[in-house]
Amino acid sequence: MTYPVFTNGTVLPASDLNAIGLWLVKTQTIGTGVSSVTLTSCFSSDYDNYLISWSGVTCSAAGVFVGATCVGSTPTASGWYGNTYYVANGALAGLSAANDSNTAFFAMGSTSTTYTNSGQCALQSPYLASETRSQYTNADNNYWRFGAAQLANTTQYDGLKFYPLSGTMTGGTIRVYGYRN
């Protein structure tokens, strides 16, 4: 396949634009000292699958970022099942595991108080009337983590609640991208 190279003044054919694979759906700046941030109307029938990324987030406690899919601004109260595996930074052995069993959230990444935090998480089918699935890999100065989770219902979720399991967050940006169907 030949990928287009654009120059100023070039006519943009629909075929080229329709081949763009990732589209920025929503950008949200995080406020000061918030326990969570909810992005409404970020999932729709436009895309089956999404990529969520964040950067520049300062956290008050070390641990993990989690997410909950939302209907409007109402997050899931339960239903997520998954595992997170983690290893202490610098260690070559000692893989540990944590199990999310019927939790309100799915794990998305790490939080550190030493550095600003960044990461990404893939999410499939939040708006489809089918199971929703997530996957992530992330690291901070304490741990390297990876995991996946599933929400086995047919609810159509149109929003995302993003939050640290402990403490609060300040600043930074969350972006939601849709993978073109």
Binding site: G31, V34, S35, A62, A68, P75, Y86, T103, A104
Partner: protein
Amino acid sequence: MAEEPKPLMIQIDDEVREMTPEEVATHKASIADAPQLGTPE
């Protein structure tokens, strides 16, 4: 005198405000049984 605990703040899109009592209860319930996903000692 003990310092009063800071209110929990919620952000929905661009709106940042204090959580309502119901939202506080929901938030605390959502993290109550969270497994230790590799939190440093």
